[in-house]
Structures are given as structure tokens and as C-alpha cells.
């Protein structure tokens, strides 16, 4: 690289004078890439889902209490898991509706993760409560298809995150070493 001309690129960049209106329009669009501003209809839709989740939670609480003792214990656990899922999902909906903004980087993945966890829990309950018969075996096999897929997805995601975390730590150390080297060379 052309080390003989330090800061030449910086000098060059200073002479670029973009149109302010176009730059502002661009920055607004870039923000929109990560954050979706909701209009009254959009907010209304999220309020609708929040109310829907709350109603679901109430419904599962009522049914859970009403059927307590009539269903196996796994049935009650399933209702409890559904109540929890509905409440957390509803809380995210309320957060979006109140703020009027959908954070595309965090909220949709959180909702997808929540849905994934819910499916895994329910399929596990479905498999555990399978009767000791051919029908039960069929239930377990069907559940396994979901669980194996979910496990592969989870493992791939965890492995990728672990690799990235290791890279990040190494680069943090490298960054500190470079900082120290810079300081030492300034002192000497």
C-alpha cells in the first residue's frame, strides 16, 4: 500500500461536498433499514396482537384451571407454557405498539426465537405424554422430526456464535496489543 502518503485519503475525502438534502434523505433511509416507523394502522395492528395474546393467556389460564385433575400433568404444563408464551409475545407487541417503531434487528429475531422455543417445548410435551401404544410411537416419531430439525438449527447457531465470540475476543486482545505498541512507540 502507499504508506508514503499518510492522510492523503483523508484530505481527499474533505473535498467531497455532498448535497445536504440528498445526504439527509439517505440517512433517513439507512435508519429505516434497521427500524420501521409505524403509522396509526401499523400500531393498531400491534395493539390488536397484544390484546389477542392477552386473551389467549386468559383463555389458557381458565382452561388450565378448569381441566386441572382431568388431564395428565403434562397437559397442565402445556397450558402453563402457552400462558407464558402468550404473555411474553404480548409484551413484545405492547412494546412495539407503544414505541411506534419496529426494531428489525432485534424484535423479529426475538419473536422467531420465542416461537422456536415454544414449538420445541410443546413437541416435547406431546412426545412425553404419548400413550404406550402404536399411536404413541407414531406421535413420538412425528415429534422427533421437529426436534431433530430444531436441534440441528440450534447447534449450527451456537457453533457459529461460539466461533464469532472467539474471533471477537482474539481481536480485542490484538486491539489492546496494537494500542500498547502505539503508546510505547509514542513514549520512546
Amino acid at each position: 500500500m502507499n504508506e508514503d502518503r499518510p492522510n492523503f485519503s483523508e484530505q481527499l475525502l474533505q473535498y467531497e461536498t455532498p448535497d445536504e438534502a440528498l445526504r439527509q434523505k439517505y440517512e433517513k433511509e439507512i435508519r429505516a433499514m434497521f427500524e420501521k416507523q409505524l403509522g396509526p394502522a401499523g400500531r393498531g395492528m400491534w395493539w390488536f396482537w397484544a390484546v389477542f395474546c392477552a386473551m389467549q393467556a386468559i383463555l389458557f389460564v381458565v382452561v388450565g384451571i378448569w381441566s386441572y385433575g382431568m388431564l395428565p400433568i403434562w397437559g397442565t404444563i402445556g397450558f402453563a407454557a402457552s400462558v407464558l408464551f402468550a404473555l411474553v409475545f404480548g409484551a413484545i407487541c405492547v412494546q412495539i405498539a407503544v414505541s411506534g417503531r419496529l426494531n428489525l434487528k432485534t424484535q423479529p429475531p426475538a419473536m422467531a426465537g420465542l416461537a422456536w422455543a415454544f414449538v420445541v417445548i410443546m413437541v416435547t410435551i406431546y412426545m412425553v405424554s404419548a400413550p404406550d401404544s402404536i399411536a404413541g410411537l407414531r406421535m413420538i416419531l412425528c415429534g422427533l422430526v421437529f426436534l431433530v430439525g430444531a436441534a440441528v438449527f440450534l447447534l449450527a447457531s451456537r457453533t457459529e456464535q461460539a466461533e464469532l465470540r472467539t474471533k471477537e475476543k482474539l481481536l480485542e486482545i490484538e486491539c489492546r496489543v496494537a494500542e500498547l505498541t502505539e503508546r510505547l512507540s509514542q513514549d520512546s
Binding site: 502518503r5 455532498p18 439517505y26 505498541t181
Partner: protein, 184 residues
């Protein structure tokens, strides 16, 4: 050329972005936006096209950032996406290719780093606009100092020898433009 610490920090930002860190994304955009805009602006006639191409570039970048295995390769990858997106956006691929095909080029090992440097950034900035698109393309990447000659070759999809030769002729063309400006 950025310092070692700055280079490592930029790599750190890339990894943090891959982990979904929103602040790292903002920092990455803040660092690279002026440089990318400068480059993209040299490839198009209208400023509005440059901003549009830049926006599309970031969309593509964040959509496929996970494919970057080595964060050291990020600047080269980023400029390649910016160039391809700009060309796709303005449909100037044919024009650029025609321009580069018509250049006098050889694979002789000419090293542009051995040539005398340009000092007046303002004059260079103004003169860049008077060069052919293909010369402007490589020379802008060279002046932005983020990439090696080999990496510039990867961005513009040409062998290293061709880039060295193209840089040599581009600098010669730039010198003659600067001389003409001085005479006026």
C-alpha cells in the same frame, strides 16, 4: 493507510456486526460511508445515483455479512459490493468494460508506488473527474488507501499486473490533466 490499531478495530466491528451488534453496525457505517461515497461518486454522473447505490450497497452488505469468513478481507469485499451495486444500479457495466478494453495496458511489472506522489489533494480531487471511468476507478481505490494493488485487482476483476499497468497510465493521465490545469 489506517494505523494497526484502527485496522484491528475495524475487523472487530465486522465480527461484532456478524454477531448482530447494532452499535457496531452504526460504527461500521459511520467509518466506511465517506470512503464508499467518495468511490461510488467517482463512478456515477449524478449524486442522487451515488446515494441510491450506497444505500443498496449497505442492504447487500448486511444481508450477506455472515459470508465474510476473514474480517481482514472485509474492505476488499465491501468495495467489490459497492462497485458491483453501482454498476448494476446505473447500468454502466458496458461503458466501464468498453473503457477498460480500450485502454493501453500491459502486464509489465510497473509499480505505481515507485512513482512520485501527488501532494495537492484538492487538485487531484478535481482532476479525477476529468479522467476516463476506468482510470478513475482504479486511481480512486488507490488513493483511498484501504486496499493493496492485489485487492484492487479483486475489486475490479483484473490481474495484479494489469492493475499496476493501469495505475501507471492513470497516474500519467492525471499528471497531464494537472499540468494542463496549472498552465491555465
Amino acid at each position: 493507510m489506517p494505523s494497526d490499531k484502527e485496522t484491528v478495530y475495524q475487523q472487530l466491528l465486522v465480527v461484532r456486526c456478524q454477531r448482530g451488534d447494532r452499535d457496531a453496525m452504526d460504527a461500521l457505517i459511520e467509518h466506511w460511508q465517506p470512503r464508499l461515497f467518495y468511490y461510488v461518486r467517482r463512478l456515477v454522473h449524478q449524486e442522487a445515483d451515488a446515494w441510491d447505490a450506497l444505500q443498496k450497497t449497505w442492504i447487500r452488505v448486511f444481508r450477506s455479512l455472515r459470508s465474510v469468513k476473514d474480517p481482514k478481507a472485509f474492505p476488499c469485499w465491501l468495495y467489490t459490493i459497492a462497485r458491483n451495486t453501482t454498476i448494476d444500479h446505473t447500468r454502466t457495466r458496458v461503458a466501464l468494460r468498453w473503457q477498460s478494453d480500450s485502454l493501453i495496458e500491459s502486464n509489465d511489472p510497473i509499480d505505481a508506488r515507485d512513482e512520485p506522489a501527488f501532494d495537492d489533494a484538492e487538485a487531484v480531487h478535481n482532476a479525477l473527474g476529468k479522467l476516463s471511468p476506468a482510470h478513475r476507478d482504479v486511481l480512486t481505490l488507490f488513493f483511498l488507501e484501504d486496499l493493496t494493488v492485489e485487492e484492487i485487482g479483486k475489486v475490479v476483476d483484473a490481474p495484479e499486473g494489469t492493475i499496476k499497468s493501469r495505475l501507471h497510465y492513470a497516474r500519467r493521465a492525471l499528471r497531464s490533466v494537472l499540468e494542463e490545469e496549472t498552465k491555465r
